[in-house]
């Protein structure tokens, strides 16, 4: 029982990271109907920004947590800027071209970032510095590390903030309008280019947060770390219903739990396979995803 609870917590923790990355896929898909295959690589960039920033910032403030928060915030900012650049220079010029063109650009951009990463950061894995010294928390019979708790709390906080932004703010409302009908949004006086750029920035910042939270738990980072996580987060977004914010969170959690349970009770050989098994099953039986709806328009 205790081991099950332990796995449950591990699964939710991993799942919340998938969810953070999946949100970026789903938000960009929402406004542009584009699968941004370079999104997983932004997650990698986030981890590397975190790595270099930690070296500079670690020990600069009196608290470890403050160090970590600062590293995280600046990495998110850095990735947000990367997201803006990607949108402006790779996707905006082909906005009116066919969707296939955009998809091919996305794949090219992804390869470019991965290989440039290997060139600049080096292909060998780097060890992410321990921003917060590990301590253990005993909860009943459960043994948690403080890092696990921090990762989970941060991910949940970010998702709540995003939710408030999208459902309560004026700009969030505009974002939902753009994702529903771009032309109608323009007619309301919404500068849709700005909203699309903001969507990329937000999604990229969340991916950066994901990259750093992962590195706190599993400190080895390498320039290709975004490939598998990106694919899995993409599966999570499709599983939940791509374009649907809650779907991305739900899909991420299911995927994280499934992966941890398979590794814990089956064989860890299959932990990566489960994501794609889920993808095949969902595409066969509910291609719109768990929370996705087929487009229904009332006349």
């Amino acid at each position: 029982m205790e081991s099950f609870l332990q796995q449950l917590i591990n699964g939710i923790s991993l799942g919340s990271i998938y969810a953070l990355v999946a949100l970026g896929y789903t938000m960009v898909y929402g406004v542009l109907r584009l699968i941004n295959f370079a999104h997983g690589d932004v997650y990698m960039l986030g981890a590397y920004f975190g790595f270099y920033l930690s070296r500079i910032l670690q020990g600069r403030t009196p608290y470890h947590l403050l160090d970590a928060a600062l590293v995280m915030f600046l990495s998110m900012l850095g990735c947000a800027i990367c997201g803006l650049l990607m949108e402006r220079f790779a996707y905006r010029p082909v906005r009116r071209a066919s969707r296939l063109t955009m998809l091919i650009i996305a794949i090219g951009l992804s390869l470019l970032i991965e290989n440039a990463g290997q060139l600049i950061f080096g292909a060998n894995p780097k060890f992410f510095p321990q921003l917060i010294p590990e301590s253990h928390i005993k909860l009943g019979g459960l043994m948690l590390t403080n890092q696990q708790v921090i990762v989970l709390l941060t991910a949940v906080t970010l998702m709540i903030l995003l939710n408030l932004f999208i459902y309560r703010s004026r700009t969030g409302k505009a974002m939902r309008a753009v994702s529903f009908n771009m032309d109608a949004a323009k007619l309301m006086g919404i500068d849709t280019d700005r909203i699309i750029a903001l969507t990329f920035a937000l999604g990229s910042a969340l991916a950066a947060a994901g990259g750093i939270l992962v590195s706190i738990n599993i400190p080895g980072i390498d320039p290709l770390m975004g490939v598998m996580t990106g694919l899995k987060a993409f599966v999570a977004a499709v599983l939940g219903g791509i374009g649907n914010i809650f779907g991305a969170v739900l899909g991420g959690l299911i995927l994280g739990l499934a992966e941890v349970m398979v590794a814990g009770y089956g064989s860890s050989t299959y932990r990566d396979a489960i994501a794609f098994l889920i993808l095949i099953v969902i595409l066969l039986f509910k291609p719109a995803g768990l929370l996705g709806k087929g487009a229904v328009e009332k006349v």
């Binding site: 409302k173 009908n181 032309d183 007619l187 006086g189 919404i190 849709t192």
Partner: protein, 234 residues
């Protein structure tokens, strides 16, 4: 107030508008009638910058609209109620209205504007918390017009507001349009229902395969045998 001179617009590879010139006087209701596919919607979309004319000039209050992005045209005081209404189905009625007032940053004014829309369309007040996609066709049309009103447009463009509505609802909608016009907005109405459009407007243009083939006072056009035969079914 609005002048189109020699406007031509392509829609993909199709020539949708050819050398269209028309004028809408301040404070009036003008109408553009014509069959399905005559280019009526393209004319409105060209005014809003949703498609770009490749020739000709569009002037609003003396300012050239060509090449200005749609959201800035909206900010200049033109609102389009698009064909098929295009309400944000996944948002509530209230959120739709708030988006209509997107450029109004003063929360108090926004509330007043919403109250005004509720006064014009009391049905919307009853439905304010409902998702717009669950409204009936007529209610969606009310919402689309109400949403456009939120921006205090000086020029209101209406694309087929009667499409698919029951006669009673059509009259309710047109009464509201009359009221909006009396309250100061100039209206350009695009309609397939020529009978109704000619009754409710002062000046009319007839569009056929992208060209203006007739124009004049609505009352005169309604008596014209060619119009009667082609568009009034008499």
């Amino acid at each position: 107030m609005l002048t189109l001179s020699h406007v031509s617009t392509r829609y993909g590879s199709i020539q949708a508008l050819t050398d269209v010139s028309l004028e809408v006087e301040k404070g009036s209701v003008a109408t553009l009638i014509g069959a399905n596919g005559a280019g009526k919607s393209t004319a409105l979309r060209s005014i809003m910058g949703l498609c770009q004319p490749h020739a000709g000039e569009i002037l609003f209050e003396g300012r050239k609209l060509n090449k200005i992005p749609t959201h800035r045209i909206a900010a200049m005081g033109i609102a389009l109620v698009p064909e098929g209404r295009a309400v944000f189905a996944n948002l509530t009625v209230l959120e739709n209205l708030e988006l209509g007032g997107y450029l109004q940053r003063d929360g108090k004014r926004l509330r007043l504007d919403i109250d005004h829309v509720y006064e014009v369309f009391p049905r919307l007040k009853e439905r304010m918390a409902q998702m717009a996609g669950t409204l009936s066709g007529g209610e969606q049309q009310m919402l689309a017009i109400g949403r456009a009103l939120m921006a205090h447009p000086r020029l209101l463009l209406l694309d087929e507001p009667s499409l698919g509505l029951a006669p009673l609802m059509v009259h309710a909608i047109f009464d509201a349009v009359d009221r909006i016009n009396r309250e100061g907005a100039t209206v350009l109405l695009v309609e397939q229902n020529a009978n109704l459009a000619l009754k409710r407007s002062r000046k009319a243009y007839v569009l056929e395969t992208g060209r203006i083939i007739m124009q004049g006072d609505s009352a005169d056009l309604a008596k014209d045998p060619r119009v009667q035969e082609a568009y009034l079914g008499e």
